[in-house]
């Protein structure tokens, strides 16, 4: 199993301001790179009252400047702005990170759609059409698209004629095939992942009980091609040797789900913190955390676990403490089965 850190969202919460939140993100990812994490993630939401990062590419590019090797995962909203902007931002991110980018398109909330005057039905079409534009843009072949929502090139009256009838997006991604993993946070996203046989990221809003259904539908859609697409899961993770780890992070953890509920991305009950945690949070001392990850792994076969370890408002020292334990006590356990105790504990 491989491990990622994030997605970071850089909101202002519990006395941590935006500047500090971005600083903290950079420090945490610098540390992650030399702590066994292999990917770092940034997500985005528009117009959130806590200032949840609205510009995932910009924040991801910042992380690329502060690191050398860790993969940079970015989760942009697709289907609102013109898809060529997303295509261009992606290729620039891939080049400035020397080929470390992974792009995971995510779905807009109703409030975000409203800012663009886009209905729910129309949004699904726009999302699918945008995806087509991304793949064309990153390919080496000049292209044209005549979609319902976007015509590229538009060949508008009065412009100097485009005699090729095509557009070429440059620069090309540094990677020959820029990884696009679908955000499986909504049904359409999961359908598209299945249809197009794209790797799919699930979690964050989906609890453990939902994973079986999500992945079996996906497997059925993908079919057996002889090659398994990777299972990528986001889970909230907190490691502590304290007496009551949930008391150390519970309110910050809960806040994320109150926010999802407010945005209409998730329907669930946040009043019973213990129940909410039991349904999805990986928490405890290193042995307990290993046990919970191993259980998920044996049930689903997890290839990449993206650990959301920074909950809104968590101070840097607390985050680094949790990451340090995860790095030294948990990650080695999943590098090889039956890892000798002497290696994990130190000889």
């Amino acid at each position: 199993m491989r491990f990622g850190i994030g997605p970071f969202t850089a909101e202002s919460h519990l006395g941590i301001g935006w500047t500090e939140a971005y600083e903290l993100m950079g420090e945490a990812v610098r540390f992650a790179e030399s702590a066994g994490f292999e990917s770092a993630w940034v997500s985005e939401r528009y117009f959130a009252d806590d200032g949840y990062c609205p510009s995932a590419f910009i924040a991801a590019a910042n992380l690329a400047a502060k690191t050398e090797a860790i993969r940079i995962g970015v989760m942009p909203i697709l289907g609102l702005s013109h898809p060529l902007y997303i295509a261009e931002d992606s290729t620039v991110l891939d080049n400035l990170s020397a080929g470390r980018a992974i792009v995971v398109p995510i779905n807009a909330t109703a409030y975000e759609r409203e800012a663009y005057g886009v209905s729910e039905a129309e949004y699904v079409e726009r999302f699918r059409e945008s995806l087509e534009v991304l793949f064309h843009s990153w390919s080496a072949t000049p292209f044209s698209v005549s979609g319902r929502h976007w015509t590229i090139p538009a060949q508008l009256e009065g412009h100097v004629e485009n005699s090729t009838g095509t557009v070429t997006v440059n620069p090309k991604p540094a990677q020959f095939e820029l990884p696009l993993w679908m955000g499986g946070f909504w049904e359409t996203g999961r359908d598209i992942a299945g249809e197009m046989r794209l790797p799919m990221v699930v979690g964050a809003i989906s609890d453990n009980a939902a994973l079986q259904g999500i992945w079996s539908s996906y497997d059925e859609a993908v079919g057996d091609s002889g090659r398994r697409t990777p299972r990528v899961l986001i889970r909230d993770v907190y490691v502590s040797t304290g007496d009551d780890p949930l008391a150390e992070c519970g309110e910050m953890f809960r806040y994320q789900f109150e926010r999802y509920a407010r945005w209409g991305l998730w329907q669930g009950d946040t009043s019973d913190l213990a129940a909410l945690a039991a349904s999805r949070l990986i928490i405890g001392d290193p042995d307990q955390v290993i046990e919970q990850i191993a259980a998920l792994d044996s049930e689903f076969g997890i290839d990449h676990l993206i650990c959301r370890m920074h909950f809104p408002g968590m101070p840097l020292a607390q985050l680094l403490g949790s990451m340090q334990l995860f790095s030294r006590e948990v990650i080695p356990e999943f590098r090889m089965p039956a890892l000798p105790q002497q290696i994990r504990r130190g000889v």
């Binding site: 850089a10 202002s12 935006w18 500047t19 971005y22 950079g26 528009y46 117009f47 959130a48 009252d49 806590d50 200032g51 949840y52 990062c53 609205p54 510009s55 590419f57 910009i58 924040a59 991801a60 590019a61 910042n62 992380l63 690329a64 400047a65 502060k66 702005s81 013109h82 060529l84 902007y85 261009e88 931002d89 620039v92 991110l93 080049n95 400035l96 020397a98 080929g99 409030y111 409203e114 800012a115 663009y116 976007w150 015509t151 590229i152 090139p153 538009a154 060949q155 508008l156 009065g158 412009h159 100097v160 485009n162 557009v167 070429t168 997006v169 440059n170 620069p171 090309k172 540094a174």
Partner: protein, 342 residues
């Protein structure tokens, strides 16, 4: 007079087809060098759908620069605002300003290349209207006011209040647009000193007529600048590169105009060559420190208080560039420190 350094467009050209990852690695190194030398800022430039991979995503690159530097200001010179989604840009501006702890200078231009507008399905003739609308949205976003009729508010807020906006001003109309809003102006490398001075005057007149306080407005200009110990060495190093840039690239995009204001492309090579030589002769500051100081003081005398020194041209080696930057920072900048201050 402050000096920024420019322009980085991340081009992998026919004459210097470097891998883009190498160009971005150099951008970080160049920015750190500019910071160490004490330049005020480093400026990026935007175009899209061009063979050399010209940078189409300035704010993403600005986020990267913020991570590679500590004190250097980061400028866009310029982001082609009418070609963008202003809601997305307003959010990006705030994010860059947060990531850089308030080091962002947001320069915007209309854009002029038809194929860029056409690829995005935007009519070039709408660009002035789109510019005005986007500037309204940026002003609302900066003030924490709604940016849509439904009441959407951009969050986070920027660190600077507000982020300085520089409006690229090639025409009288663009200068008036900036003046009516009291925004900074970034004059073009297509303007000679006299024209620059006229536009500064036009700005103040327009501001006065519109009841706008122009006392805090900054007047920047783009200039091709190259400093060397000997005039001959400077000219030999930089003029062939500059000529090739102006002819190939600006010819391909019809950026330069003849004396009648007709845009020039490859179909009129003699007129294009004449226009390019005019830029090199009149609108550049190339030579010994004394020559460059004199040229830049002439600009200060007509009211310009900031120069984006375009020393970064295509196909220089880093040692060549750093030597010229060092001379500019150490031999030229101190002599201009008191010039052009109001």
């Amino acid at each position: 007079m402050d000096i920024g350094i420019g322009l980085w467009g991340m081009q992998s050209t026919r004459s210097a087809p470097l891998p883009h990852p190498t160009l971005y690695k150099r951008l970080a190194e160049d920015a750190q060098t500019a910071e160490d030398l004490g330049f005020a800022s480093l400026w990026l430039t935007e175009h899209r759908f061009w063979y050399d991979g010209y940078l189409p995503s300035l704010l993403t690159a600005a986020g990267y620069m913020a991570g590679a530097t500590r004190t250097l200001r980061i400028g866009t010179g310029c982001l082609l605002l009418p070609q963008h989604d202003p809601l997305r840009i307003a959010q990006g501006v705030a994010t860059v300003d947060q990531l850089s702890h308030g080091r962002f200078d947001f320069g915007v231009a209309l854009g002029y290349r038809d194929q860029e507008f056409d690829g995005l399905g935007i009519h070039r003739r709408d660009r002035a209207r789109r510019m005005e609308e986007a500037l309204d949205i940026l002003a609302s976003a900066g003030a924490g006011e709604p940016v849509t009729p439904q009441g959407h508010v951009v969050s986070p807020r920027s660190v600077q209040s507000p982020v300085p906006i520089w409006v690229a001003a090639v025409s009288d109309n663009a200068v008036k647009r900036a003046a009516r809003r009291g925004l900074n102006v970034l004059l073009s490398d297509a303007h000679d000193d006299r024209r620059a001075g006229d536009l500064v005057k036009l700005y103040h007149e327009t501001a006065r007529e519109s009841g706008v306080d122009s006392s805090k407005a900054r007047f920047g200009i783009l200039r091709y600048v190259w400093v060397d110990e000997s005039a001959a060495a400077a000219e030999n190093t930089v003029i062939p590169r500059l000529r090739s840039l102006l002819l190939e690239q600006l010819g391909g995009w019809r950026y330069l105009s003849d004396e009648n204001g007709q845009s020039l492309g490859f179909e009129r090579p003699e007129a294009l060559r004449k226009a390019a030589e005019g830029v090199i002769r009149n609108n550049a500051a190339i030579g010994t420190p004394e020559t460059v100081i004199r040229r830049l003081k002439d600009l200060a005398a007509v009211g310009v208080d900031f120069v984006v020194a375009r020393s970064h041209l295509i196909s220089q080696t880093q040692p060549q560039l750093y030597r010229a930057m060092e001379l500019l920072a150490k031999e030229v900048a101190p002599a201009l420190a008191d010039s052009g201050k109001a």
